[in-house]
Amino acid sequence: MVTNPISNAEPKMRARDVSVYYGTKKAIDAVSIDIPTEYVTAFIGPSGCGKSTFLRTLNRMNDTIASARVEGRIELDGEDIYESGMDVVQLRARVGMVFQKPNPFPKSIYENVAYGPRIHGFAEGKADLDAVVERSLRRAGLWEEVKDRLEDSGTALSGGQQQRLCIARAIAVEPEVILMDEPCSALDPIATAKIEELIDELRGRYAIVIVTHSMQQAARVSQRTAFFHLGHMVEYGETSQIFTTPRETRTQDYITGRYG
């Protein structure tokens, strides 16, 4: 199986034969994939195919589920993230995550963004922290909308604004990889368009992995697409190739809407 169709640079993250079990049930079966930096990689597939599960192994969010067990090897810059030498707090500072449902903290907009830099000690003093907050909100395209009400609660924003706030919160700690788990599924089309635009702007800086139900979205925002089905990664390649000339019939069937 081809795991790195455009083998120009060293991949940011590399997964080899990763299997995930929930108890005795195997949710992911021997997935190998290379995730390049400065690109958007999309995971598509029908519900329950394991794409979100796999995404959560990349920053060890599966650790919070008692019955989950991961086999295989996942590397970040060549370092195994499931090795005992890799600290999970450090890993999550480097691999950020945005969730399906916007989940701002019930604190002020400012506190939402400042929280990460503060707990990691990335900002020296108030002025520095202010600068980090402004920079992150600007990158998330939210600054103009909220700059006059930074002390308002983050939960008072609209759904789309909340999701951009969550993105600002994630990029405030300067991660190298951003994982997005269906970030637009709870949003209306206009908010979705804004997030997609934002993803496109962010991609030059970070390795972005996005799980999505919408094939159109994958086609619009990603350069690489991986198709998951029943815990297997069926096919991985350039997005244009996956959508025009898929090699596997299962991919073709899914893309043409025969199931899913």
């Binding site: 008692a66 707090v89 450090q90 999550r92 989940n103 903290f105 019930p106």
Partner: protein, 420 residues
């Protein structure tokens, strides 16, 4: 030729449908009335309780007093300077013959009969008035001094028949009357109902509650946090959960016996102390805090935890920055409910000796003390009519204390409540 009637109209415009519709609305009305009835019933019971208590208790905040004219200018009493304690000043006045002075003037102006019915501690009340206002000693004053228990009963229309004409005569002259006695709130228990007060028991209750809170709140909250956030789900934690739920349902007398067997064996010199009382009540309150705390923690949405974990917060940061602040209103509500229950608890405290007669308010956690509900229990056992009113007054004080605690709970809940 006409439009065909839509199927949905055909189905809903039938007598059967309309009859069922009426039944559905009738069911709703019945339900609403039943709910309203339940609320009205509770309010009526509460009002009945409060009104009866107030009517009975109002007398407890009054006492029968005699108006005694004392011409201090005719005697040479002096309040010595430089005495630091009130006790020393009272003793100084006693040694100068204040009790005799009061007695003489009472005999002179009210007659032998009435003077005999002055409370034996009347001179003490006079001394306190002098200490409050030393200029009294330079002029002729009308002192309001407590009457004896017997005269007080006679004024109310019962007690010794022989005293009743005297009481009627003095009342008619305006010498004897029921007057507001705020001293009830600042004195302690006494054998004479006219001299008894609630402050000792109230202070004992406050000290005991402080000990209970200081022990039960941190232990309860930490247990709840550990069980919800850290403990693995297995047979042992299931067992612990069942035990805690059982502990919350154990009758309070059992906790009293436990306190007697364990705490008083370890610290035999602390019998009747608020410290031991608080420790015993903390055992009882802790499971309530654990249970309500766990429910409050469970109600914090997992998405908040995920969000914090995903930007690299350590588990303890997730707990203290996110979970605990969001769960706090619920935890506080549960804590106050547990504390309110502990405040009203009598049985376990009887077991550890807090039913002793304590005439001075406790100055520390290790002084002998009693608490409000025990004081109520003790006074309700007295036959003297004065104590019946004092009992009701003590109940009013207890209810007011409860009201303050519950008000505090609601204030704290609204203060910390956040939406997500």
């Amino acid at each position: 030729m006409s439009n065909p009637v839509p199927r949905s109209v055909e189905l809903t415009r039938t007598p059967g449908f309309e009859r069922r519709l009426r039944q559905r609305y009738a069911a709703e009305r019945r339900f609403r009335l039943a709910g309203l009835g339940a609320i009205l019933f509770s309010v009526a019971v509460l009002l009945f309780l409060l009104v009866t208590m107030t009517i009975n208790g109002i007398g407890g905040f009054q006492r029968a007093t005699l108006k005694v004219p004392v011409a201090f200018s005719q005697v040479s009493l002096a309040l010595p300077q430089g005495l630091d304690s009130e006790g020393a000043a009272i003793r100084a006045l006693e040694s100068q013959g204040l009790p005799e002075v009061i007695d003489d003037f009472a005999r002179e102006t009210l007659g032998e009969e009435a003077a005999d019915e002055l409370s034996p501690d009347a001179w003490r009340v006079a001394a306190e008035q002098i200490i409050d206002d030393p200029t009294l000693l330079d002029r002729d004053a009308q002192l309001i001094l407590p009457a004896s228990e017997n005269l007080s009963a006679a004024l109310a229309g019962d007690g010794q028949a022989a005293l009743q004409p005297l009481a009627r005569r003095l009342a008619a002259e305006g010498v004897l009357a029921e007057r507001l006695d705020l001293g009830f709130l600042s004195r302690s228990d006494a054998t004479d109902s006219q001299l008894a007060g609630i402050w000792g028991a109230l202070k004992g209750s406050i000290l005991t509650m402080l000990v209970t809170l200081a022990l039960a709140f941190p232990i309860g909250v930490l247990s709840a946090l550990y069980l919800e956030e850290y403990a693995p789900r297995n047979r042992w934690t299931d067992l612990i959960e069942v035990s805690i739920n059982n502990l919350a349902a154990v009758p309070s007398i059992i906790f009293g016996l436990l306190g007697l067997a364990v705490f008083l064996t370890l610290f035999p010199s602390l019998r009747s102390a608020p410290l031991i009382g608080g420790m015993t009540l903390a055992l009882m309150t802790m499971p309530v805090i654990v249970i309500s705390g766990r429910n409050a923690i469970k109600a914090v949405p997992p998405s908040i935890r995920d969000g914090a974990l995903a930007i690299g917060a350590s588990p303890v940061q997730v707990v203290f920055h996110h979970v605990l602040p969001l769960a706090l209103p619920g935890i506080l509500t549960g804590t106050i409910i547990g504390m309110a229950r502990a405040l009203g608890e009598t049985a376990p405290l009887l077991m550890i000796g807090m039913r002793a007669f304590v005439a001075t308010p406790p100055d520390s956690l290790t002084d002998p003390a009693t608490v409000l509900p025990v004081q109520i229990f003790l006074w309700s056992d007295e036959v003297d009519r004065g104590f019946v009113e004092r009992t009701s007054a003590a109940i009013i004080v207890l209810l007011a204390f409860l009201l303050v605690m519950n008000g505090l709970a609601i204030y704290l809940r609204n203060r910390f409540e956040k939406t997500w």
